[in-house]
């Protein structure tokens, strides 16, 4: 009888063992990328979004966080419209993610016939909030503060050239906000990417710009450009001597989110894998160091449904902003 029981026991053990092995196998074989991941940047090369994407790509490789590489691809056309449409057309694809700017909200509002609804996209994680400063070439010696900046712009009128990364991008919104606050009108000239804007400011082809710190830092350090005012709630650690617009009595505060999003209908397993990956990156020493150096705010990790809620609130805020300054002020028509 004992022998008989033992006879039963062996196959039972074998079965339990194999089930256990199988289960652990499926657990570790949770979703993994099977081919290179397209890392879409909705802006041109050299800009803030581009630098971030390339840094993240590098960190992923350096820390071997992904079995397949991330390939950054720039799709700057039409203030990010090209990238948004591309992502929409990739619905259900688990091997493409987008690094955003605020044109993620504004472009679908301004270009209604694009047919993109961002609430359909798969939220992954928010990497940072980026900040804005007003920059001029150092050679404009008579501009030392916001007051004489505004005076000079008013005098120049439409001959004052403000460079930016495209109508509907955050810098164009901020420019429109300044126009309505100070009561002047400038000429807004779009360039493909914040790096090119910076170059054109240094080369004096434009008169001022609202670049992100990352885009101007090296020129600032070289003494070629200077910040006049920052559009944050409080002075940033990196720019202790530059006043905020709010301090000067002008309520212009504007941030840009840098988040990672997937196409509509990305599988839950893939979404979880990406959330996990980008969370690791967010908490890495390298990323936090980059945030401090570049004047990015990176103190809170927002992912998944929380990010979707954040997107919803921001989209509503941008809609209100656009209505206030008028879409025409942003598109320049």
């Amino acid at each position: 009888m004992k022998a008989l029981r033992r006879l039963f026991l062996i196959p039972a053990l074998v079965i339990t063992a194999s089930v256990a092995v199988l289960m652990s196998a499926t657990a570790s074989a949770a979703w993994q990328p099977k081919k290179p991941i397209e890392f879409i940047i909705m802006a041109g090369t050299g800009g803030g979004a581009d630098q971030i994407a390339r840094l993240l790509q590098g960190l992923i490789e350096k820390k071997s966080l992904s079995p397949r590489p991330f390939i950054p691809i720039n799709k700057p056309g039409g203030s990010g419209a090209e990238a948004l449409r591309y992502l929409k057309d990739k619905a259900g694809d688990d091997h493409v993610v987008l690094v955003t700017l605020n044109s993620f909200y504004t472009t679908p509002i301004i270009q209604k016939n694009l047919g993109v609804d961002i609430s359909q996209f798969t939220p992954i994680g928010r990497m940072a909030l980026d900040t804005f400063l007003l920059w001029v070439n150092t050679d404009q010696k008579d501009i030392t503060n916001l007051d004489n900046y505004v005076m000079k712009v008013k005098k120049a009128g439409k001959n004052w050239k403000v460079g930016g990364t495209g109508t509907g991008q955050e810098d164009s919104i901020l420019t429109a906000m300044m126009e309505s606050e100070f009561g002047y009108k400038v000429t807004y000239i779009p360039f493909p990417g914040g790096g090119t804007v910076a170059k054109n400011l240094i080369g004096k082809h434009i008169d001022s710009t609202v670049n992100n710190p990352a885009e101007q830092n090296e020129f600032y350090r070289a003494g070629k450009s200077k910040p006049i005012v920052q559009f944050t709630e409080e002075r940033m650690q990196a720019f202790p001597d530059v006043p905020t617009a709010r301090e000067l009595g002008h309520d212009i505060v504007y941030y840009m989110q840098r988040s990672i999003n997937g196409p509509p209908g990305m599988s839950k397993e893939a979404q979880d894998w990406y959330i996990n990956l980008f969370k690791t990156l967010f908490n890495s020493e390298e990323w936090q160091k980059f945030c401090v150096e570049d004047g990015l705010t990176c103190d809170q990790w927002v992912a998944g449904n929380d990010l979707a809620a954040f997107h919803k609130e921001q989209a509503a805020r941008h809609k209100a902003l656009i209505e206030k300054v008028g879409a025409a002020a942003i598109t320049g028509q």
């Binding site: 390339r54 590098g58 960190l59 071997s64 720039n74 056309g77 090209e82 270009q111 000239i189 790096g195």
Partner: protein, 505 residues
């Protein structure tokens, strides 16, 4: 000057250290293969191999990536010449004369010319880089939208002003290219333009490599099929060391073209907007315009291979200048290099030269060494590459066909582009039958978007006043040169006619 020589000496010493030298050689070989493979190109090569660089110190890493970039510029010519498919966008102009040469059994000549011209282009530009990097960076800054537009006009002029070709047909071909270039989202307002049948693939615009592969790969194959009527032809190739040395010595016949192409390529490369592709096309156009025998271009003139190859290598060095000094990549590949530098903790910008001289000079030193090694490796492989042509067309054609599909699919990874490529192939074949030049269309689709953007930016800045192009010294000079180039062939023809008339009298 002395400090430059000392720094360069240090850089060269750095580059020949065993680890760095190994990286250079491996990088060159990988680059050569990546460049020769249609659709792969240096962008993908550098992107895929970026992670490997974390295993070695930053200096060795950038040297490795730069060597790949460099090798790919050489490699692009190989498939352009042997198969007639441009391996990369920078090698499209190489097909114009490289392919006819190969068909006439002179592939070895074309390949040697490509390698030698690349070497000369690379060397001239790296010397310019060494001596004049800071002032040139300053000069690049002076290029705003009006200057960029004037440069584009100059580029178009090099193609319109070609003597010998049918000028109305050339203009027609340019216009077709320009129309194709407007497809996609408007650069400034973001509104969709010319989205045929509402196919969303058109939103991304027409990728220029798709057009080039279609016209030259598929179109050419159809043409060959018709010409040979299915007969099996085998190209004769002879390769010997003596022939190779003779080919290398032939460089002196097109030394002027090569030097001009190198200098032009370097300058165009330093401008962040342009890069190696426009540089190689402009260099080809100039070589043809100033040739004593412009009619032979497009039918197998060795100078037509040397000019674009010198320019694209020079431009690849040139595009490192804005990357290092301004932090703005001059080409997609340098954009990835830039990403690498950020990860290694190096911030490119005006201060990089003074804050990290070891790094910058190590990179410059490696360019000298990489150039030499790529030349040697390339020359050593020429007999192997030429073997490809000894395959019967019945075997070669399916290979070309497959490579075309891969090359059409790879850049955007959509089937839409593959279908487009077939359409362009058919259209290219028909245009060729009707004796239309297709090269101007290729030029127009590359330069069209750049020209449109800079034109509209300039006019926005000037409140619609076109005088902005003539008021600024650099752009006025470019426009004047463009006008002169357009008139040059007719003036020359007029002078020749008068001379002939005088002779007969």
């Amino acid at each position: 000057m002395e400090t430059i020589l000392v720094s360069l000496g240090g850089g060269l010493a750095e580059a020949v250290q065993p680890l760095n030298l190994t990286m250079i050689i491996i990088g060159c070989v990988i680059g050569l293969l990546v460049g020769a493979m249609p659709g792969l190109g240096s962008v993908n090569g550098v992107a895929i191999l970026l992670p490997i660089t974390f295993l070695v110190p930053p200096n060795a890493a950038i040297i490795f990536l730069a060597a790949i970039y460099y090798g790919a510029m050489y490699g692009g010519a190989i498939s352009s010449i042997t198969l007639g498919i441009p391996g990369a966008s920078t090698a499209v102009a190489t097909v114009f004369d490289g392919r006819p040469l190969a068909q006439q059994g002179h592939a070895d000549k074309a390949l040697t010319a490509a390698a030698t011209a690349s070497f000369i282009g690379g060397t001239i530009s790296v010397v310019l880089f060494t001596l004049f990097a800071p002032p040139l960076a300053e000069f690049a800054l002076r290029f705003g939208p009006p200057e960029e537009f004037a440069l584009m006009v100059l580029a178009f002029a090099t193609f319109i002003g070609l003597g010998g070709d049918d000028i109305p047909k050339t203009i027609f071909s340019i216009l077709i290219g320009l129309v194709l270039a407007t497809i996609g989202l408007d650069i400034i307002s973001g509104k969709p333009r010319l989205i045929f049948f509402d196919v969303s693939g058109f939103l991304h615009g027409i990728n220029f490599l798709v057009l080039a592969i279609g016209i030259y790969g598929i179109g050419e194959m159809l043409w060959t099929l018709e010409q040979t009527k299915g007969q099996v032809i085998v190209h004769k190739v002879q390769t010997s060391f003596r022939a190779m040395f003779r080919n290398i010595r032939d460089v002196k016949h097109y030394a002027g073209t090569t030097t001009l192409g190198s200098i032009l390529g370097y300058f165009v490369g330093t401008l962040p907007a342009a890069g190696a592709t426009p540089a190689s096309l402009m260099s080809y156009g100039l070589a043809k315009t100033f040739s004593k025998n412009p009619d032979s271009f497009g039918k197998g003139n060795v100078a037509g291979v040397a000019a674009p190859e010198a320019a694209n290598n020079a431009a690849s060095t040139g595009s490192m200048l804005p990357m290092i000094t301004l932090g703005i990549p001059g080409s997609p590949t340098t954009a990835i290099l830039l990403g690498g530098m950020i990860i290694w903790g190096l911030r490119p910008g005006p201060l990089l030269f003074s804050e990290h001289p070891d790094f910058v000079w190590g990179l410059i030193g490696s360019l000298y060494i990489a150039n030499l090694f790529t030349l040697l490796i390339n020359l050593a492989f020429i007999p192997v590459f030429v073997r490809v042509l000894t395959m019967p067309f019945t075997i070669l054609a399916p290979i070309i066909f497959t490579l075309c599909i891969v090359g059409g699919y790879a850049p955007t990874q959509t089937m839409h582009d593959v279908w487009l490529m077939f359409v362009f192939g058919l259209a290219g074949y028909l245009l060729r039958k009707l004796n239309y030049p297709v090269a101007p269309a290729v030029l127009a689709i590359v330069l069209g978007p750049l020209a449109e953007l800079s034109l509209r930016q300039s006019l926005l800045a000037s409140q619609g006043d076109a005088m902005i192009f003539l008021e600024r010294p650099i752009s006025a000079t470019c426009i004047a040169l463009a006008v002169a180039l357009m008139l040059y062939p007719s003036v020359r023809r007029l002078l020749e006619r008068r001379k002939r008339a005088a002779a007969t009298e």
